[in-house]
């Protein structure tokens, strides 16, 4: 295969666009796992759920999937609240986190997948929107809108989230709860409520990321688990609990996958994210920006 | 060779923070040392470096003449070190007696020359030890639901069950009532009869003064005093460390 500059350039652009989208998928995990220490391996299940919600509304009323997901995000937020409450009462309060909560979220992941199969079957689903078929050309570079639009919205969301966490009282309380719950209590803030709401936010973000996903590629209930490695790899690479770190980790992963797909074929792509995760965990578990 | 433990120039850093800045500490066989110092001075870090739950960055830890600085904790325990934890860490799915079976099987009876012991025999030995510390009546109770003082006794009993030559008691008396403190103190004094050296880390001064043959003071990762308990307490630097500038 000829390695032309156009091929490389396109691989880079695709990688960056992909990376921006991956950041949206993983930002929720940076919150739930990185800051709240909740191993929600079912996170991808909520992304897929978001994809299907966008799909339903899009196929009935033709609205833009990303707009749909933003409108529906309060529902996901509530779902997150409920889920956290169950998690808290069943596990965190009794201090028996690891094994049981892992099994719990694994069960949730599985149930979500099976329910989606029961309702929608195993066929791949797509959405159609004004831009899903368009591709702009910038010199030698292809800019497919189905990658660009999610990228732009995702970046807006990431920067918004980062601003929210570092500037608002609630956001800073979330960062604080990860470090010193006792101090929070002394300030009269209930750490459980903070964690609950932060978790709700992480699920809401997942729902929106789901819309990005189904714009970018066709979706089927089982693909959720391929993304577990991806989202946790990004979270760990980025140094847990760091949104900026997650963004950079996502870019790295996006580029790695893009190059792998271009030069070795797309069937190796899932191995890339998991492989990178394994390497990171083995050699630098504190991530690139770890505390 | 009467120097049981030789800690020399031990340095431990966590990122940019230096928790231990060149600490020297010696201990003779059967000696009772009190280790005191303000919170955050590095006492627990030192214990971790001695026992192997952390590895020191510089310096050396020598036990009975052997360099153990790079050995994992379980090997050091088998050599004859033992420790209790500041926040008790019982094996909560096991009974009190079963808790003791673990060090009996893996430490006391894993040394060269020791007899092989079955789990059932270990249980019997555990009950014997529990009698000595006054926990025999709780032997078959689950270890998760004990009272504070009983948890501390279990911590110490578990360390004792490893048949150590050196026992490190890490703030076993924190938060206990006067009579409970005396119970723990009695337990530690009993180590004398078995020739077990003890390092006692405590904030309760009357216990430290009663118990220790020698007192060492750690402040901000450095040892600022080491010697006769009365003399050390009258040391102006020590007073300053505790009462502030």
């Amino acid at each position: 295969m000829e390695i032309s500059s156009s091929l490389i350039l396109n691989a880079i652009v695709a990688g960056v666009l992909l990376g921006g989208f991956y950041a949206a998928m993983a930002a929720g995990v940076s919150i739930s796992f990185g800051m709240l220490d909740v191993t929600n391996i079912a996170h991808p299940a909520f992304i897929i759920l978001g994809s299907y919600m966008a799909y339903i509304v899009n196929s009935w009323w033709g609205w833009d999937p990303i707009v749909i997901s933003i409108v529906l995000s309060p529902l996901f937020y509530l779902l997150g609240l409920v889920l956290y409450r169950i998690y808290y009462y069943a596990f965190e309060r009794k201090g028996q986190q690891s094994l049981r909560s892992l099994a719990f979220f694994f069960g949730i992941l599985f149930i979500t997948e099976v329910v989606l199969i029961l309702i929608f079957g195993v066929d791949y689903r797509l959405v159609k929107s004004s831009y899903t078929e368009t591709t702009w050309q910038l010199g030698e570079v292809d800019l497919p809108m189905r990658l660009v639009v999610p990228f732009l919205v995702s970046m807006a969301m990431i920067f918004g989230l980062n601003w929210f966490l570092s500037r608002t009282f609630f956001g800073r309380a979330v960062l604080a709860v990860a470090q010193d719950q006792f101090a929070l209590r002394l300030m009269g803030v209930d750490p459980v409520k903070i964690k609950e709401r932060a978790f709700g936010i992480s699920i809401a973000i997942a729902g929106v990321a789901g819309a990005f996903l189904i714009v970018i590629q066709p979706v089927q209930p089982s693909i959720g688990r391929d993304f577990i490695g991806l989202v946790f790899a990004i979270c760990v690479l980025g140094g847990m609990g760091s949104i900026k770190g997650a963004l950079l980790g996502a870019m790295i992963l996006g580029l790695a996958e893009s190059f792998t797909a271009t030069f070795f074929g797309p069937s190796w792509a899932p191995a890339v994210s998991f492989g990178l995760l394994l390497l990171t965990m083995a050699f630098k578990p504190s991530g690139l920006f770890g505390r | 060779m009467s120097e049981l433990l030789v800690v020399k120039g031990v340095v431990k850093r966590f990122g940019g923070f230096t928790a231990l800045d060149g600490v020297d500490l010696n201990l003779k066989v059967g000696e009772r040392l009190g280790l005191i110092g303000p919170n955050g001075s590095g006492k627990s870090t030192l214990v971790n470096c001695i026992c192997g739950t952390l590895f020191n960055d510089e310096g050396s830890v020598t036990f009975e003449g052997h360099e153990i600085s790079r050995q994992p904790a379980h090997k050091r325990i088998r050599r004859g070190l033992a420790r209790s934890f500041q926040l008790p860490k019982p094996f909560s799915s096991m009974s009190v007696a079963e808790n003791l079976c673990v060090p009996i099987l893996y430490a006391a009876n894993a040394r060269p020359g020791a007899h092989h012991v079955t789990p059932a025999q270990a249980l019997e030995q555990a009950m014997e030890i529990l009698k000595k510390v006054g926990l025999a009546h709780k032997g078959h109770e689950m270890s998760g639901g004990l009272t504070q003082v009983d948890m501390r006794k279990l911590e110490l009993a578990r360390a004792i069950a490893a048949k150590p030559k050196l026992l490190i008691s890490d703030e076993a008396m924190a938060g206990l009532s006067n009579s409970e403190v005396d119970e723990i103190l009695e337990l530690l004094f009993a180590m004398k009869e078995q020739g077990i050296a003890v390092i006692m880390i405590e904030h309760i001064m009357r216990a430290v003064m009663r118990f220790s043959e020698r007192v060492a003071v750690l402040v901000a990762g450095r040892k600022i005093a080491d010697g006769d308990p009365e003399a050390v307490m009258r040391n102006p630097e020590v007073e300053r460390a505790y009462l502030g500038e």
Partner: protein
């Protein structure tokens, strides 16, 4: 609870029961029974194997399918290399290969926190799946055919009867190994690791070594379960061999049965396995999986000690005081 019965009595007893069950091969005329029984026995082995690392040691393995597939594909490779090789040898080799994989994976990941270990097991599953799909010798994504020999060994009427008996004996072996670990010194060490790894290390338990032992044995037994599978299905393909349902089942069964003893996984596998066989035939396999998932979540939140745990609690209350398990 640590059984008072010595292993000298237990082992012959279990194999005796196994022989009894094997006799059913001659007595039962309905072929479907053997097919269903094979699946339940498969789960007994997987659940028992999982529990050695999960219930005894406290490390959650999501990659059951990877080890299972190792055993299955090892048989495929041996079948292609040497079709005349006796099944027993294939089983031994497959088990060894899976065990080595467990050892390897453990060496890479056991220094990590429990959570990262679990994610790594998922990673292993995906990576291995990707390799198998791209490996043409075993058929890649298209799959491979494994034909049972025409002459059924030991004079059984049908090959499925032979497979059934083999699985009964393998299940018995898995149970014997699990109980031997549970009642031995090693079992105490594993429990200590599960309850508090740092405290265990400070009691002299060689935690890394024991964890590696646990992953190796657990992986080996899971592989053992897979070694006869190609003969059972005749057509082996990656998507179904690496199915996540193996992971869910091997977690749900010990959890529902009770993770602290060898009885739990056995009980969970028999109960849940039978329920699944019934549902699969009467409703559908998707509903089947939904039931497993829901039961898993219900038990882990409401009755995490499983059926055996509920039974011990009830027994303790009847005895009046807090006794050891």
């Amino acid at each position: 609870m640590h059984n008072k019965m010595s292993n000298k009595v237990f082992i012959p007893l279990v194999y005796g029961v196994a022989v009894l069950f094997s006799l059913l091969a001659v007595l039962v005329p309905n072929d479907y029974f053997f097919s269903a029984a094979y699946t339940v026995l498969l789960f007994i082995i997987l659940a028992t194997a999982w529990n050695i690392l999960g219930g005894y040691t406290g490390y959650v393995n999501f990659g059951t399918a990877a080890f299972f597939a190792m055993g299955a594909y090892s048989t495929v490779v041996l079948y292609k290399l040497s079709p005349g090789m006796p099944l027993l040898l294939k089983i031994v080799i497959g088990t060894a290969v899976a065990g080595l994989t467990g050892l390897g994976m453990g060496s890479l990941t056991l220094r990590l926190r429990g959570v990262f270990f679990s994610i790594a097991t998922l990673a292993l599953s995906v990576v291995m799946f990707t390799f198998v799909v791209n490996w043409d010798y075993v058929g890649g994504a298209r799959g491979a055919y494994v034909i049972a020999p025409r002459d059924v060994p030991f004079g059984f009427k049908r090959y499925i009867h032979f497979l059934y008996v083999v699985m009964v004996l393998l299940s018995a072996t898995a149970v014997v190994i699990a109980r031997a670990i549970e009642t031995s010194t090693i079992g105490r060490g594993l429990e200590a690791i599960r309850d508090d790894e740092l405290a265990a290390e400070c009691c002299g338990v060689p935690t890394l070594r024991l964890k590696l032992l646990s992953t190796t044995i657990s992986g080996a037994l899971m592989g053992m379960a897979g070694t006869t599978y190609p003969y059972f299905v005749s057509y082996l393909e990656p998507a179904s061999t690496f199915n996540l349902s193996y992971a869910v089942n091997s977690i749900a069964m010990p959890l529902i049965g009770g993770m602290t003893t060898w009885v739990g996984p056995l009980l969970g596998a028999v109960l849940l396995g039978t329920v699944q066989q019934v549902v699969q035939v009467t409703i559908s396999s998707a509903w089947n999986l939904l039931i497993v998932g829901v039961l898993l979540v219900l038990f882990v939140t409401l009755a995490p000690e499983g059926l055996m745990g509920l039974w011990y609690n009830w027994r303790r209350k009847k005895q009046g005081k807090g006794g050891a398990k």
